[in-house]
């Protein structure tokens, strides 16, 4: 299939970019049966690739156990985290992985409909993806009695988002699918019990779903050969910023940041933002940390900053993003982010005291604890990490030399 990406080339990698023939996963899934699929998945240790890292097997088991007349599989393709573009590559170059993954998910939990919630900006992919789905229908990989398996019906629809970052949050995504304002829901209830239209719904990231056919076809044992103890398999990293070779890389979990910087030919690197705007910013002294759920966790976004970057400007950029992209529903996130942005701007204007900065950091901790969804819970991450890790640059020096230290 053709793609519109300039970087298009045959990629290699240990798991996702390894060989896979369409439909093999589905065939194997039918052979295994539901319970064995769940066992295989549990064995693989696959965790959600969107960033939160919830066990995929548990999620599937909960919704498979839920008793309801309808169930849904939703593919979260609202790739909105600044600095991520791996899902775009998967959807354009490996749609068979994503869609096979959805079919297998539907088979396992007993859903008959899958929905791809596609980022509004990816509208250009629509004809390609729909053409691909049509092919699958012709080959009886979608529709009624898939691969002659009696009662195995599954169909996939694609729905477009409208550009709100918060709609990447699974419950806000479901609200958006239902036609309401994209606002996160209260939990409990969780989507696995009460999701789209009130029915049990599994919302999985594109990359999570793309891992499924490999795991089912090649086995959980094979999958967990890669990675660390707590982070099994491999991960796609969207690398951008100041480096020689930006792009999408498949690397094992546990890869050190240093190693990654070497691979992407980053020179004079000062800071690495792991996990996008909602992630943390690490200084050189922490480049020996490894990329894994248990250490430097990320949904895939790696942004590299070299010596010439102004960390305060970067932070302002991030905070402006959150001020605008908060859904505006809950107090800590809606007002908290504006206060943090105000604080950073005051630092820029040199109008601050350290007690004020500490007060804002405390506020950041409240936002992490008391916000309704992941957006507000993670938006203070870059604020706190940049101010902590780049104190020298931000508070004690400017282009003219050393600043006066304030009380």
């Amino acid at each position: 299939m053709e793609t519109t990406l300039k970087t298009s080339k045959k990629r290699t990698g240990p798991v996702l970019f390894s060989n896979y023939q369409q439909a093999y996963g589905i065939k194997k899934a039918i052979e295994l049966g539901r319970e064995n699929i769940l066992l295989e998945l549990k064995d693989s240790g696959l965790k959600g690739r969107g960033g939160a890292g919830f066990s995929t097997a548990t999620k599937w088991m909960l919704s498979a156990a839920a008793n309801a007349e309808k169930k849904f599989i939703v593919c979260n393709a609202d790739e909105g985290e600044p600095g991520t573009f791996k899902d775009r590559v998967l959807l354009l170059e490996y749609p068979e992985l994503v869609f096979d993954g959805m079919v297998i998910a539907g088979f396992t939990i007993g859903a008959k409909i899958g929905i791809v919630y596609l980022r509004g900006e990816y509208e250009y992919m629509l004809p390609l993806l729909e053409g691909f789905l049509n092919n699958m229908k012709e080959e009886n990989l979608l529709g009624k009695n898939i691969l002659e398996k009696e009662g195995f019906d599954f169909d996939i629809n694609i729905r477009l988002g409208s550009g709100a970052y918060v709609c990447g949050e699974e419950t806000a995504l479901i609200e958006s699918l239902e036609g309401y304002r994209g606002e996160p829901r209260n939990r409990p209830p969780f989507p696995v019990n009460t999701g789209y239209l009130g029915y049990p719904t599994v919302v999985n990231n594109v990359e999570t779903l793309a891992s499924i056919p490999h795991i089912i076809y090649k086995g959980g044992e094979w999958f967990k050969k890669n990675g660390t103890d707590k982070s099994k398999g491999s991960k796609l990293f969207s690398v951008s910023g100041d480096c020689g070779k930006p792009g999408v890389y498949e690397l094992q979990w546990g890869t050190k940041i240093n190693e990654l910087l070497e691979i992407v030919e980053a020179k004079n690197c000062k800071a690495v933002q792991v996990g996008g705007a909602s992630g943390v910013c690490l200084p050189k002294s922490q480049f020996n940390r490894s990329l894994a759920y248990e250490d430097a966790a990320t949904g895939g976004s790696i942004i590299i900053f070299d010596e010439n970057r102004n960390m305060l400007k970067i932070l302002i950029n991030f905070m402006e993003f959150f001020v605008e992209e908060s859904c505006g529903q809950c107090t800590p996130c809606r007002v908290g982010n504006t206060k943090l942005l105000e604080g950073v701007k005051n630092i820029e204007k040199d109008e601050y005291t350290f007690s004020y900065i500490n007060k804002l950091k405390e506020l950041g901790k409240t936002m992490q604890a008391a916000s309704k969804c992941g957006l507000g819970q993670s938006s203070p991450n870059s604020f706190i990490s940049i101010l902590d890790n780049f104190k020298e640059e931000i508070f004690y020096s400017n282009s003219k030399g050393i600043k006066n230290v304030k009380a």
Partner: protein
Amino acid sequence: MLKRENIRIPVSQQALVIEKPIDITTIGGTVTIQINEKKVFVPFGTTILDACKENQIHIPTLCHHPDLCIAGVCRICVVEVEGLRTLQTSCSFPVTSPIKIHTSTEKVRKARRHIIDLLLSEHYGECYSCFRNGNCELQSLAKEYGVDGYSFGHILEPKYKVDKSSAAVIRDMNKCILCKRCVRTCIDLQEVGVLEAINRGHETHVGTFLDKPLADVICINCGQCINRCPTAALRANDPSDEIWNAIDDPQKHVVIQTAPSPRAAIGEEFGIEPGHSFTGELNTALRRIGFDKVFDTNFTADLTIMEEGTELLRRLKKAVVEKDSSVRLPQFTSCSPGWIKFIEHFYPEYLDYLSSAKSPQQMFGAVIKTFYAKESKIDPADIITVALMPCAAKKFECNRPEMNASGFKDVDYGLTTREMAKMIREAGIHLPEMPKSNFDEPFGNASGAGLIFGATGGVMEAALRTVYELVTGREVPFENLRIESCRGFEGIKQASIKLENCVESNNFLEGVELKFIVAHGTANAKKVMEMLQRGELSDVHFVEIMACPGGCLGGGGQPIPTSEEIRRKRAQAIYEEEEGLPVRKSHENVHIKYIYENFLTDGPCGELSHKLLHTHYTKRGKYIS
């Protein structure tokens, strides 16, 4: 009986609905949880908030309201649940497993304090220049948590223009804290859906369709949003300054009519527990303030019964005797101006079903400026009529262009219970201390039937007492005239009464089962209208609808706060007062007999009453230009 089902409540605003076990002694019926090291047993599915309340632990709330679905947006009620990384909102968290809860750890206290600080930083204005001073939930939270400064600054310039376009409701979004109670009131409780959150992030605000002025959208003016607003973002359009001016003007003869519901609730404004009527005290207070005459709206409630009841009998006669298929049945009541605007917007094709009788407020206005002016020899141009109502929509109603049958504006000002209390306080009067006094002649004290108009089902009960007696010549066959099937707070009540041994003039109704429906709250009105659309009301004769939950006693002009418990107490006060009255049927009110003998001489629904006491409606539709 009917149930409210399939209402639109966004799932984001729902808590997990757990069916609570009927018998909590069954296995799994209760869960043992720990609140602050104390072991307690709670029914499965109870929210943490309720569990704490039962165990005398106060948890602050802001976006939570007993009448509304859960939102979980203000985050003030957060608590720590062991094993969970983040704090949990106690209002939305159902207890389904033996969890351990901590309600006042450092993390919790800090978070709550931060949230109050954040809300205050964006809440424009100062408390001393705010009409909700002393009755503001944000203010009391700030006090509770000892806020003594603005930790994150305080907004100094207003961000939004105050929307004063509506005759009934004024919106000042600078005071809004985005708890969205008004949104939930409008969409979920009343199913009108005028208010919704607009924009995102720090630009989020509650607004109307395309941010149009409230007067230009399909707001029905019920004012329920005002009653549920925790701050001063919503208020009624207050005419008290104009009323003071009229009182101060020696040329003007200022008369006031008082509706039953404000009398049953105004004590709450003076620190009295809900459930006490202050009718006599209020009469004295109003005279001391300077009103020239104090009249009882129940007089025109009785008049409404005569007119509306006669209209119903005529419709029935046309339908039964003359087999006239153009007659619209059931007849819907027309006393509630919120309901009138609702049907004008949402069901304009069904306006013929409405009784053409004006509401008691407007009837009184017309009677005062004609009959009363003549009797007391005062130039109607010098008369100012004020109506004390539990209602925000009455303000819009008295400004309707068609409401000038007397040749003047029939009712000059509609005043809410809250505004009246403010005027009384301003005059240095403490209402509960006032001696009691009666209403002024020539209208005097009205019947109890008029009084119960204040509670949902009251109009129906009053109408049945009169219609049944007119048709059969006998009193309604219920102990102490209590028609229990009209009473109570069920959303939609359906009942019937058989007409037997009719008097000769009405013997066409012999054996007819008079069927009626009573609904309150426009969400229930919508259900009834949908039943009408489906043709399910073909055997129903009379429908009473009130726009506000609980009827007028839960009106948008009543004291804040409101809850079903408070509304029940107000209803109880009304029914208790009613049983003590000497006259309890509208047609036995001597003043009613007098006005039909001496002024409206061609009887109910006659030519003059048609001119003065009846009205027409406007097909508004839902489309906003």
